[in-house]
């Protein structure tokens, strides 16, 4: 249980025991509570007062599978508010095995200076000059890092977009095959890393100094119980290994809630060409992988490896949100183009979701035609090259809307929406409006509530309560390093009880049913809301853009109908 604090001004690295205030925290809970406590809310997100925090989940690096999410937190240059973005891959487990609770990057290197931060197998950290890697894209960068430091190395890095400090720049995370294809993508944390002068965080995977487990026997038993529940879950055992998250393309289009052509329609013409089913068939035909392990300790295998028509690697993992952003929003119904765009974004180091929405806003403004895949690739390439237009695009949908003087910009708090139109999934609109992160796809995702017939997506009743409940639960599970898929299987009394036993056995405490996920989730959300209030956010920032209230969405031809008072009651706790 230790923090590694790195002062980028002075190049001083300090190791400290975890302070009492932060004990028992990990992942999102730790990053958000630390930022609320340590970062001046009105600071420049790209200045020295901001802090960039890497925190494995509380259970990362333990025996519990599917706990390989690493949370990255800072004040966001995209939203101006607090940000936690988490990614899969291998770094979280590697840090957990070293007993490192957080790596905190503070201050700012002199302009133009670039470093690696390396943590070796003993947990010793050092800063290494990295000028020669300036401007390098992430795939090449990771290859070079592995040549220097060995194959048992995890990498969290930025591409050119992070160095340009663009507001949608991502931090890319290497997967089990050493591809930097996982991303802490949302909110521009790559720009914060670039502003600090940090090109990569490099972690040796061979650490053998994890935190002590308070009751190892009880821990093993509790882990077995959780694994049994996760494996018994139909989605995790059947759908995820075959289609991955891309399996959502069919249900969301069938519901008329797939924001298409910059959210002008709820159904994409030709969506069957880019469905999870079509993708899996194409990958199979070409000899790629429809079932793939992307993260350390995964038992779900939701990842895939998309290959071209010669069987050559293009990208991994092609996910639902990316297929939507690069396909639905842009009207591009060609899987090869979408896969190419996914790879390009990972390589340049930008968020696929915000980039897809930004391209769609430009197309909606008349810059290029919807469906023009070649134009979309050229536009995204401009981000990598750092052209004037590339910088506008890389600063996100709102920047593009401003450039073209175009009002139809689907963002909340500056962050592009995810793959669920709020007019056809009202509760998702509540989550987009109120999440401290801005419009977010994991914070309180409602689609499962509708597909399980728990709620009618077009009726106002129950939407605020549903969003609130899921936002609380996810804030708690995001603190554990747990992936979304495994968390979903545990969102029931039996699953939560089993999960509490894991936490209790690890820490030697006795959390009760009120403590987790409820109290922990509320504690995290309160810290995030408090930071945003101090940064200047008001209830008016918890609103969707006007066109969602005014412009009916085909095919249901409905608008967003949750009133402001109800929205403002979401966090009445």
């Amino acid at each position: 249980m230790k923090f590694i604090r790195v002062n980028m001004n002075e190049k001083i690295i300090t190791v400290e025991d975890v302070p009492q205030d932060y004990m028992g925290l990990g992942g999102r809970g730790l990053t958000s509570i630390m930022i609320n406590q340590e970062v001046p809310p009105k600071c420049d997100p790209l200045g020295p007062e901001n802090k960039l925090i890497f925190a494995p989940g509380l259970l990362s690096g333990t025996l519990l599978p599917n706990t390989s999410r690493i949370s990255v937190g800072a004040k966001s240059p995209l939203t101006g508010g607090i940000k936690e973005s988490n990614a899969g891959g291998t770094a979280s487990a590697a840090l957990g095995r070293l007993g490192i609770t957080a790596v905190v990057i503070e201050g700012q290197a002199p302009e133009g200076e670039l470093s690696f931060l390396r943590i070796d197998e003993k947990g010793n950290a050092s800063l290494i000059p990295a000028q020669e890697y300036k401007g390098m894209r992430t795939y090449r960068l990771v290859e070079k890092i592995l040549k220097s430091y060995g194959e048992k190395t995890s990498v969290l890095c930025i591409g050119p977009a992070g160095e340009y400090r663009l507001a949608t720049a991502s931090i890319q995370s290497s997967d089990v095959d050493d591809h930097p294809c996982r991303a802490a993508a949302r909110g521009g944390l790559g720009a914060v890393m670039g502003a600090k002068g940090l090109k990569a965080l490099i972690v040796d995977q061979r650490g053998k100094s994890p935190d002590t487990i308070a009751d190892p026997k009880a821990f093993r038993e509790a882990v077995r119980a959780v694994v049994k529940i996760v494996k018994a879950d139909h989605m995790n055992s059947e759908v995820m290994p075959k289609l991955g998250t891309a399996g959502l393309v069919a249900p969301v289009n069938s519901m008329g809630a797939f924001p298409s052509y910059n959210a002008r329609n709820g159904v994409l013409d030709g969506w069957e060409k880019i469905s999870g089913e079509s993708m899996a068939e194409l990958i199979r035909e070409r000899g790629g992988k429809t079932t793939h392990i992307g993260c350390s300790g995964c038992i779900i295998h939701c990842s895939n490896e998309f290959v071209d028509n010669e069987g050559k690697y293009v990208t991994s993992s092609l996910e639902y949100e990316t297929i939507w952003a690069m396909g639905g929003m842009t009207g591009i119904v060609d899987m090869d183009t979408i896969a190419r765009l996914d790879n390009l974004c990972d390589d340049i180091g930008v968020d696929t979701m915000s980039t897809g929405v930004a391209v769609a806003v430009a197309m909606d403004a008349g810059y290029k035609a919807f469906g023009d895949g070649k134009a979309a690739i050229e536009m995204v390439e401009e981000i990598g090259k750092g052209t004037e237009f590339g910088k506008i695009l890389g600063n996100g949908p709102a920047a593009v809307g401003k450039h073209f003087n175009h009002a139809r910009v689907p963002v909340v708090k500056g962050q592009g929406i995810a793959a669920y139109d709020p007019r056809a999934m009202l509760g998702q609109g509540v989550t987009f409006s109120t999440s401290p992160m801005g419009a977010d796809h994991t914070a309180g995702n409602m689609v499962g509530e509708y597909l399980e017939r728990k709620l009618d997506p077009l009726k106002a009743e129950g939407q605020v309560e549903g969003s609130r409940s899921l936002q609380i639960a996810m804030a708690a599970f995001d603190s554990m390093g747990q992936c979304f898929m495994a968390s979903v299987a545990l969102l029931n009394p039996e699953g939560e009880e089993a999960f509490r036993k894991v936490i209790n056995a690890k820490l030697g405490i006795q959390l009760g049913s009120d403590d987790f996920p409820h109290a922990m989730g509320i504690r995290v959300l309160k810290a995030e809301r408090e930071f945003n209030r101090k940064a200047g956010f008001t209830n008016k920032d918890d609103r969707l853009p006007r066109f969602f209230y005014e412009e009916p969405l085909p095919p249901h031809n409905t608008v967003f109908i949750i009133n402001d008072e109800e929205i403002d009651s979401t966090f009445d706790f």
Partner: protein, 79 residues
Amino acid sequence: MKVSVKLYGTLHQRFPGYQHSQGIEVEIPDGATVKDLLALLEISDPKGITVIMEGRVLKMGDTMQCGVPVNVLQTIHGG
């Protein structure tokens, strides 16, 4: 009455020779419900199954309509 059904997720594996472009045409009695349709498709446990017609997620007791196609899918959570 006849209802055209399209299967998604891994459901097609239960129907050898299933061609997605054509789907399956099933004959069900007038007034048949979603539960009846699933029984006919030999899906006895509706847990994990979602049926969508004209953009609406149907409940097990909802009535099928003649000539209106339905999508039968596996429940999935987003993120």
